[in-house]
Subunit: 284 residues, 4 copies
């Protein structure tokens, strides 16, 4: 639909003239900016920026841009991430038994709505194998028990490396990843079926029903070692009433989960999310 | 706009033929039903019902209806509440320094949108006196310090009794009412500035900002002795982003607070809320 | 999850004691009411009711209930529809080239969220055949050109009859059904990709973009001869901004379309919708 | 809460390096950018920008900045608008009989949420005089009949000029302003009580009820000569059901109207809206 673009994400200490410096650098290299978005966190004294420009016509050769961006970031005392919009990241999807998020993501990947490749689906239950077959995506069953958990995580890590996976998406994967795992593979997005920080942990719909809430929610966030406490990317809600049993909350919740996860993943894939200090800036 | 109606709220143990029995009782007395709404909580084995019918043409004299409803409820082993739509309850509003909910409620009362009388506004700070004057509503300043809290609550109780108040609304009243108070005057509705059960207690917007949520909320609930834990009537939300400072959350939050409180109060005043087992059935 | 129930939908002229009469009839036959919901359209002088009760324990044999309900409706001068919750209707899905609604419906049918059978998918383009195969649903390609439209509609009608279809769902079927067709097969639900009555007809997203709206919508409605004018069942919206091109509206719109159609269809299948006077009462 | 800032809004033909040029100009004059937001309308070949920087420390004296911005815009072949955040515009509110939007705006102005002065309220009915008195705002009654309309508009124009009004807000002013008026005073924001473009013109709630919609809306837009056709700033919605009579739609609609108007006005006052080609870019 559109030609490729270069996307620079940058965090650095705040000081005057940063926008000018960044835009000037792009312009000096002949770049035509499509989007430029900045945010200053004055409490933290940080400047965040996302700039996207046409790859075509840019003065630096593609392979030279990342290191040029790093040099720029170093001059500013910060850190840069550099992506090309036509590099579709390799994303692994981890699931258990529920299919709604998995199928939604596979459909969106196939239709091009989510710019990603899915080289592998990993599951701790065998149930969803045929769903993956329909989409031609390899499905690997890695069972997890309390005793075999460390071993299973090691297997998953090897699979992620073998398949050159950049990001893992927990699409209703009902296992908690250990700190050991996350320190080796930190790029993980999860969907939690509550409006965090309410109802962290297990069975949020049951507890929401118990509490008699009038809205339920879903939260997509980056995974950190502390359960359900990572940087939030997207939250969605649905209305419920006294007529809704726990089963109805679960049913209605599926739609909020699918939407929150799909939106968060798209934001991530379009490189619109910058994580800092336990939170996200979402340049949408 | 419409003529007066009789509203029966009933809770009783569930068993067959209850709808028929209730509707039959109304019909047998010549009542023309406007609305009939029922709910069975099968887990609790409870039947809840709200029936509203025309007062005009009903076979029992107005003053005889409440005791007739009580007899009916007793026959069913339950409890009834009986109200007339043209009885506008006497509601006291308790405030501190913030005006947004107070003014909103006073406007809605004056315009007839909230069918209530406001005989008195009670405040622990003097700031909002002139706002009440504009609406011709008596304003009483009852200062509260840690030392005088018990005494102040006693003063408030006496004011509520003196003014024959049926319901107290905490419209950003930044004091926690004691169990002693609530046991003597249990009909209290509060607005809490978070999406409960997230961010119970003090400074929810500051904590929401810290957590980096993407939605903030407000919750209107009946007050119980445990802080921010009473039956929820209404919840509203607003979207926020990384651009929003705490002050922006507070500003955006004011609109969700006003709406959640006004809607909850209207539901209560129209006798559409039945409280049971720490939760509400809202027949809207 | 729950045992079968009987669902009675009734419309009749309003008069006193109708609720009592209906509930009394159910009780007299030993029925245990699960849900009873009524609405009086005072302008039209009509009474609408939906009553659902346990099939088990009901005094009439299953096959005798429909005619008993008809007799009841006749006594009240109205019309009844009688359904059993374990009768999953046979629903045909009509599509063109877009897969998002089709796949969504097939997933929801397979997971049991939509209580229906899908004996057939009919398409005026061949593109979605493999998607149907994945779900084991027969796909029939009925091409339509301006010249062959009448003939194609005749073919579709025969397919609907042959497969004993009760309801046809237009899941982005980009053809207008003729009055001739609708008079023979009137049970059709459509999804229109705008917030009706705004942007009736072709290319609503393009026109929404032109107009510069800040919200887009989707509308699920029963189909009538006048285009996009039938009784509305469900409407959903999504926020858009100046950053959204027409393609983004189309992308965001797909999610609102899927949700509006799935919700409307579930309401229909759960027999929660009563159509009258060009509008719907939705007992949800 | 924060010190004053300078806000530049610019539209010019799109070409490379514009962001760099603008940010460079600010930086060259020692400005510290708080927010920078851009949009390219590639179809129209236009570049839109909003840049906000600290007034304090900027190298140009306050009174010299507007003409410097104009020179900049001329060099870019475009047009600039320059504002200071501590210049609170003089806004006239026009009303008829309904108070909900008026009181909401006056309260938000008094609380500082809307950074504006309200030197005058103009009404074609006398009803809201006392409401204005409460806020200490002059109220002027300018009756309008079919015969006196031209004359009344002339009176209003003179009042706007006399009170040095920058913007007029139609807060449920139930008169259509003529082209003659708008050509002399084009800065007018209206609130229309429907989800435009649905239900343009009179009695939108009655028509929405007739159509049986499930959502109602409100639209705040700039006024143009063609009725309800001006650039849209903000749209809000509320859910309705078959239980809602026209009166309920009107009641529920009041809250959506208040919110849409207040939000749109704040966006305008914070200079976050750029109008072009019949649409708005809202840099929020």
């Amino acid at each position: 639909m559109s030609s490729a673009s270069v996307i620079l994400q940058l965090i650095c200490p705040d000081r005057p003239a940063l926008v000018s410096e960044l835009a000037g650098w792009v312009a000096a290299n002949g770049g035509n900016i499509r989007h430029a978005d900045h945010h200053t966190d004055s409490g933290a004294g940080l400047f965040l920026s996302r700039i996207e420009w046409d790859l075509q016509g840019f003065g630096l050769p593609r392979q030279a841009i990342p290191s040029a961006a790093d040099s720029l970031a170093q001059r500013l005392g910060g850190e840069a991430q550099l992506h090309f919009s036509d590099d579709h990241p390799r994303v692994a999807i981890l699931v258990s038994k529920q299919s709604h998020c998995l199928l939604d993501l596979l459909w969106r990947a196939r239709s091009g709505e989510l710019p990603m490749q899915v080289p592998i689906v990993i599951a701790n239950h065998p149930d969803l194998e045929s769903s993956c077959k329909e989409f031609g995506v390899p499905f690997i069953h890695v069972p997890v028990t309390r005793e075999t958990k460390a071993e299973a995580e090691q297997t998953i890590l090897e699979l992620l490396i073998e398949h050159r996976v950049e990001l893992a998406v927990l699409a209703k994967y009902m296992q908690v990843l250990s700190g050991t795992f996350l320190r080796q593979f930190p790029n993980v997005i999860n969907i939690h079926h509550s409006f965090l920080p309410a109802f962290k942990g297990a069975q949020p719909y049951h507890r929401a029903w118990e509490r008699g809430v009038k809205l339920i929610g879903a939260t997509s966030h980056y995974v950190t070692e502390e359960l359900d406490d990572g940087p939030i990317i997207e939250q969605t809600i649905a209305h419920v009433s006294h007529r809704d049993e726990v089963q109805d909350l679960i049913r209605k919740g599926r739609d909020t989960e699918r939407l929150a996860l799909a939106r968060a993943l798209r934001l991530h894939l379009c490189r619109q999310v910058i994580v800092y200090r336990g939170r996200t800036a979402v340049f949408a």
